[in-house]
């Protein structure tokens, strides 16, 4: 009972931290830690790149797979084509995309280079998300990932 009470308090504390970190607009187990930034990459005026850091505020491990788990959505909930990776710099697999290793090896490589991440409770990971914002493209407002919804800051 005492342990359960401690866990509830921890959860509440983490939830408070999460609210404080992003000022709201976030739901689920993941939250921004620090302020995410959106920039226009040099030489790509129609693209946008968001960099930030995610924290797992739940009491369970969260497994993230970038390509499948991360959805970038506009105000109407429509999906905007985007890529995401759990690093803040370039990394590369030793396997070319067309010469695949076994599933287990592939998974381990994807973890190493940030195509996947596993977040323990309280753990953090950098994330870089990019999308196209050319004429006629929808303006994305939030990112959905592993059951969490995170606000994209206005530039």
């Amino acid at each position: 009972m005492r342990m359960l009470g401690a866990a509830v308090l921890t959860t509440l504390a983490l939830a408070l931290v999460a609210c404080g970190a992003d000022g709201g607009n976030t739901s689920g187990s993941l939250a921004w830690t620090g302020d995410p930034r959106v920039v226009t990459p040099q030489g790509l005026p129609e693209d946008r790149t968001l960099t930030g850091k995610l924290r797992n505020d739940s009491l369970k491990k969260v497994d993230l797979r970038s390509a499948r788990d991360v959805k970038v959505l506009d105000e109407d909930g429509n999906s905007v084509p985007a890529t995401a990776i759990f690093t803040d710099t370039f990394a590369r697999s030793i396997y070319p995309p067309a010469r695949g290793p076994s599933r287990d090896t592939r998974r381990s490589e994807e973890n190493r280079i940030g195509l996947r991440a596993s977040l323990q409770p309280g753990g953090t990971t950098p994330i870089t998300v990019s999308w196209r914002a050319g004429p006629g493209a929808s303006e994305p407002v939030r990112i959905e990932i592993a059951g969490s919804s995170l606000a994209i800051p206005r530039r």
């Binding site: 620090g34 930034r37 920039v39 990459p41 040099q42 030489g43 790509l44 693209d47 946008r48 790149t49 960099t51 850091k53 970038s66 390509a67 084509p81 985007a82 890529t83 995401a84 990776i85 759990f86 690093t87 803040d88 710099t89 370039f90 990394a91 590369r92 697999s93 030793i94 396997y95 070319p96 995309p97 067309a98 010469r99 695949g100 290793p101 076994s102 599933r103 287990d104 090896t105 592939r106 381990s108 490589e109 973890n111 190493r112 280079i113 940030g114 195509l115 991440a117 596993s118 977040l119 323990q120 753990g123 953090t124 990971t125 950098p126 870089t128 990019s130 999308w131 196209r132």
Partner: protein, 548 residues
């Protein structure tokens, strides 16, 4: 300082979030012949021995390989005078019609003379991969069959058109027989002797623990992985060889030492023309592999070397590739991490703007629509992503010297220096790397760019780079000095406060996050995915405009 601490914390936490790396390389774990300390050296670069002198104890036994009447015809058509007469005389001594047969018969110090002709090595081509004869000596990981050394010794042609495996059945990983083998084409030009694969064998020539191997004067084409390959070999020379149209690498060495690449031509490689990976650990006191007088063009990368340590590359041309040269610390399972101590000097690194990532090329190379065997091998299909328009990139490296090169007409950046956090390279299960989990920012350190000629050709005419020096500002002790633009103009860079001078150098420890993030999205490249062929936020695959 605050930014550095924050970034360090991010990197450390990121490291905790990523589990360890499973052993995973399309090759077995390998070990340096001379260890990693730089002491107790053994071995040397082999010397060339004349082909025309007959068998002797000093020069070694001669074994002659030919293609019978086809060789005779080629000799008459291509050679004249003394060279023709010599080759016709050798033709009378010919006992082998496949190079592998001669290798099988060869003992230490043999010279294998290959007369003009086309060598497809049909008996090797018929060997299966994996080979059930060598059951228990390989493992399968996805599409990759990873053989032990014994696999390649006992089933040499399962993955290799020609294999020279020199270590006998003992545990020392050292050459016992088939050491100091010389294989030489006897034509006037390299192309007179053509060793031709069908992209069905991973390697066309594999020298495995084959100390003292000397390969000279032939053309080789159409491997599925490496045209010329040396692994765990102490002492090797590649001399006057043309290597083209490999699916991945033209020339590749790995965990080898005392080597020389000289007077080579490499083109049409899906990855790199020349790749000295896991180079010898000389700790900046010696350069164990020399690369000189070579011409590498129309590859995805002209030269690359993950853990390309102890390399001295000089007087080469790296041009008309996607990227001219790279050395890096970002792939797993490479001994000798982080990369250090290469010296690049007096090279010409120019016009590296070939874009193999266009929509049209993506479509052509999409493996779900066209099998590798159905591709035109002359069309380069990139196996990895590179920043098109870059001269020379160091992606995580220390103690490198980039000196007195001509670096021009690279439309993005002449030279690029990038921080690679240590966790991104994973583990080295062989224990031959300096991996310290507490030190995520172990690069780039003490790289010196000096006296390079930026943005003009050797004849003095102007040919600007888009930007001369790109740096993410990470690391420490990195310096730039004496580099000159056209007509003595100052060089350009992406560092607002200017580049730190030599010898003191500088660096922020952690990279500037805005700069490193601009590279991150490029990691998602996947030519099989319509969106990820050209991922948003990554400008690597767009040809930069020609600078004025």
């Amino acid at each position: 300082m605050r930014r550095t601490s924050l970034a360090l914390a991010t990197l450390a936490l990121g490291a905790l979030a990523l589990p360890g790396l499973a052993p995973a390389h399309p090759e077995r774990h390998s070990y340096y012949p001379n260890g990693t300390s730089g002491e107790n050296l053994s071995g040397s670069v082999p010397k060339y021995r004349s082909s025309y002198k007959p068998s002797s104890k000093k020069l070694g036994k001669r074994l002659v390989v030919c293609k019978g009447s086809a060789s005779r015809k080629r000799i008459h058509a291509r050679l004249k005078g003394k060279q023709e007469r010599r080759n016709l005389a050798l033709l009378k001594k010919c006992k082998y019609h496949d190079i592998q047969h001669a290798v099988n018969k060869a003992q230490n110090n043999a010279r294998i003379l290959v007369l003009p002709g086309v060598y497809e090595e049909k008996p090797s081509g018929a060997e299966p991969n994996p080979d059930p004869k060598c059951e228990g000596k390989y493992r399968v990981e996805g599409e990759n069959v990873i053989g032990s050394y014994e696999y390649h010794r006992e089933c040499p042609n399962s993955q290799n058109l020609i294999a020279i495996a020199g270590d006998g059945p003992d545990a020392d990983r050292k050459c016992d027989d088939k050491c100091n083998i010389q294989i030489e084409g006897t034509g006037r030009k390299a192309k007179d002797v053509l060793i031709k694969g069908e992209r069905s064998k991973l390697n066309l020539i594999r020298a495995d623990r084959a100390d003292g191997i000397y390969l000279r004067n032939f053309m080789v084409e159409l491997s599925d992985f490496n045209n010329i390959y040396a692994l765990e070999t102490n002492g090797f020379v590649f001399d006057r060889i043309v290597s083209r149209y490999s699916r991945e690498y033209g020339f590749l060495t790995f965990s080898s030492d005392n080597g020389l690449y000289t007077d080579l031509v490499a083109h049409g490689s899906g990855d790199s023309g020349i790749y000295p990976g896991s180079g010898p650990e000389g700790r900046c006191k010696r350069y164990g592999i020399e690369i000189r007088n070579s011409d590498s063009y129309e590859n995805t990368i002209g030269y690359s070397g993950t853990a390309g340590n102890g390399i001295w590359a000089h007087d080469n041309k790296f041009h008309h590739n996607g990227t001219g040269m790279t050395t890096d610390s970002f792939a797993a399972n490479h001994p000798g991490m982080p990369q250090d101590c290469a010296k690049f000097e007096k090279n010409q690194i120019y016009s590296n703007n070939e874009n193999y990532f266009t929509e049209e090329r993506d479509e052509y190379c999409d493996i779900s629509k066209r099998a590798v065997k159905d591709r035109d091998p002359k069309i380069v299909c990139p196996t990895f992503q590179v920043p098109v328009g870059t001269g020379i990139g160091i992606f995580g490296g220390n103690g490198n010297i980039i000196r007195d090169n001509y670096i021009y007409d690279n439309w993005r950046d002449g030279a690029k220096l990038v921080t690679i956090p240590a966790f991104l390279r994973g583990d080295d299960p062989t224990g031959q790397s300096d991996n310290d989990p507490a030190n995520q920012l172990d690069n780039p350190i003490d790289n010196a760019y000096t006296d390079n000629k930026m943005g003009y050709r050797p004849d003095g005419t102007r040919a600007p780079n888009g930007n001369d020096f790109w740096w993410d500002e990470g690391g420490r002790g990195n310096c730039w000095g004496g580099n000159l633009g056209s007509d003595g103009a100052p060089v350009s860079s992406n560092v607002l406060g200017g580049l730190p001078g030599c010898p003191r150098g500088g660096g922020l420890g952690a990279p500037n996050p805005a700069k490193s993030a601009s590279q991150a999205t490029c990691a998602t490249w996947d030519p099989q995915d319509e969106l990820l062929r050209d991922p948003p936020g990554c400008d690597w695959f767009t040809t930069p405009p020609k600078p004025r």
